[in-house]
């Protein structure tokens, strides 16, 4: 079944039920279904063709997405937060002949941007379609392909992840199951709907016949008002929560009636969990783990285990199998580090127009996540950094995240980051960047490293920094750490 078919079903079963809200606007399942039909009617004469969608978050975006589904075409939402040249880079490789855009985005990007497309459809408010140009070209696509999501591109060029109806439905079903989503639940969608996490919120809540309040994180008062409008499940990346927690009193009031605060898109830290609990003792905190390549979710940490196991990703969601593989692609024992691999109906079809990368990602039916992990004796999984982040020093393979943990756990410091730097003899050595506490002493840190680490890990220098070295997606990686290091060095 396609995701939009669930909307049609609820339009029959519970027609007046509110499906989507945005500011003062709202739309019932019946009206949403009718609008999707109207928009889809302008797309019906395309036969399974690629459609870029250029739209800001909102009811309009969801209508356009579902209309592409309903007309049996392929949706490719463009991440509009990216600068124009990044979008052009995606479009240069993605062979997309057709685009549908909102009027706002059409005027923002300008006519020149749209010249590359054979078909350009512009939607003004609600359902009126203006066909600027229409040239239907035959395309050969994977017959199961329904949606292409672009990864945020933490590592260079963004990749187009190909997903099928089956991928979308099975992952949404698992999420409904884990979160216990019901038709009387209202979700808050304040993150981008163009990426896997936001998209999964749309799919799972509409499949459950519930409603979604759409907002942004731009203006805190508007965000808090949205949460207070009866939201029962709030979704955010860890930084979403950190930003909201800057206003503790408002947080306490706004989250007072929220049942579940779910997170994904990065590890939740104990300090954030504690801060939330202190303000709202009854709230259920539910950290989740996933990848775009798995449609969205792979694992979740049951709320009752958040305090004890917050440094793990918990267990697989229903329908997913997780394993830790060694270099020979076979399972390793618990507590041994290897690569986390996954299988299930949510695993991607492949990367768009890139068979070589697809072959490296899916081997014998197992998707290789690129994350290093250990399986714990209780069946939970602990992540230990990215496989790509392993540093080669001399002939040693070093996991910087493990070194950081060791130093953090045994010294009076807030956070430690290992920076690979070039070294005359070893090729690579490490420096440390440290977020200090009041009691941090550089000499003590050096002597700890001297006594507890092998010689090749003795830091060439230790620098103090103030803030976490995050990427624009709020993640910490070798790349973000090295960028911060360059910044610190250049300002010295």
């Amino acid at each position: 079944m396609r995701i939009d078919a669930y909307i049609a079903e609820y339009a029959r079963k519970t027609p007046p039920q509110i499906a989507l809200e945005e500011g003062k606007k709202s739309i019932s399942y019946r009206c949403l279904d009718e609008d999707i039909n109207t928009i889809a009617s302008s797309l019906m004469d395309f036969g399974h063709c690629r459609f870029a969608i250029l739209a800001e978050s909102g009811i309009q975006y969801i209508k356009m997405l579902m209309a592409v589904y309903r007309s049996d075409n392929i949706a490719i939402p463009l991440p509009i937060e990216m600068p124009k040249f990044s979008l052009e880079r995606i479009l240069d490789t993605a062979h997309i002949n057709n685009i549908i855009a909102t009027e706002t985005q059409y005027s923002r990007f300008g006519e020149d941007f749209f010249e590359r497309f054979g078909t350009v459809l512009v939607f003004s408010n609600d359902t009126s379609v203006e066909t600027r140009r229409k040239r239907i070209a035959t395309e050969t696509n994977n017959p199961e392909l329904r949606l292409v999501l672009y990864t945020s591109g933490t590592t260079g060029t963004p990749k187009g992840v190909m997903l099928s109806d089956r991928n979308l439905v099975s992952n949404a079903e698992s999420i409904i199951n884990v979160l216990g989503i019901k038709s009387n639940d209202k979700a808050a969608l304040v993150i981008s709907p163009h990426h896997a996490f936001g998209n999964s919120i749309i799919d799972s809540h509409l499949m459950a016949g519930g409603s979604i309040g759409i907002g942004t994180m731009n203006f805190m008062e508007s965000t808090f008002s949205l949460i207070e409008s009866g939201v029962s499940i709030f979704y955010g990346v860890p930084s979403t929560y950190r930003i909201l927690l800057r206003y503790p009193e408002r947080f306490r009031v706004a989250f007072g009636n929220v049942r579940t605060a779910a997170s994904a898109g990065g590890g939740m830290d104990l300090a954030t969990v504690k801060n939330m609990r202190d303000l709202c003792s009854n709230i259920e905190i539910l950290p989740m783990y996933g990848q775009t390549e798995a449609t969205a979710r792979l694992a979740y940490l049951p709320p009752e285990d958040v305090d004890e196991f917050v440094d793990t990703i918990g267990r697989p969601i229903p329908g997913v199998m997780l394993e830790v593989f060694g270099d020979d692609n076979r399972s390793v024992e618990p507590n041994i580090t290897g690569e986390l691999v996954a299988r299930g109906e949510n695993i991607l079809l492949g990367y768009l127009d890139d068979a070589i990368t697809t072959e490296k990602k899916i081997i014998d039916g197992w998707m290789h996540t690129g994350d290093l992990a250990q399986k714990l004796p209780n069946g939970y999984f602990r992540l230990l950094g990215r496989k790509d982040d392993l540093i080669k020093i001399g002939d040693h393979r070093v996991n910087p995240r493990e070194v950081e943990k060791l130093i953090e756990n045994n010294n009076d410091v807030s956070r430690v980051f290992v920076v690979p730097v070039s070294h005359e003899l070893l090729g690579t050595a490490i420096s440390l960047m440290v977020i200090p506490t009041a009691g941090t002493e550089i000499d003590t840190l050096f002597s700890f490293c001297r006594k507890n680490l092998p010689g090749y890990l003795y830091p060439t220098e230790i620098l103090f920094i103030d803030n976490l070295p995050l990427t624009e997606n709020g993640k910490i990686s070798n790349r973000s750490i090295m960028e911060e290091y360059q910044n610190v060095k250049s300002s010295m």
Binding site: E56, I80, E81, P83, T104, R108, T216, M217, N218, F219, M220, E221, S222, F224, S239, I243, Y247, R250
Partner: protein, 81 residues
């Protein structure tokens, strides 16, 4: 444009996607035009608080007060009185 708006515009030119040359009307939306995202707005807020020695109460963090040069200008004028 007054002094405050010019200061904010200079800040945006140094800290956002907006080009040095491009013009921005005082009522243009900063978020709809892709000039600012949520993190950018937080940084802008901190910058304003520091530069004008003001504190901005949460209930004033609305699009009316923060999504355009004019809105920000009026907010600063109101809070520095």
């Amino acid at each position: 444009m007054g002094q405050i708006m010019n200061d904010i515009l200079d800040y945006l030119k140094d800290n956002s996607f907006i080009d040095r040359e491009s013009s921005l009307n005082s009522s243009d939306s900063l978020t709809q035009n892709g000039i600012m995202d949520s993190i950018g707005l937080l940084e802008l807020m901190d910058h304003i608080c520091e530069k004008y020695s003001i504190e901005i109460p949460e209930d004033m963090l609305t699009p009316e007060n923060f999504d355009s040069l004019q809105g920000i200008n009026d907010l600063i004028v109101k809070l520095t009185k």
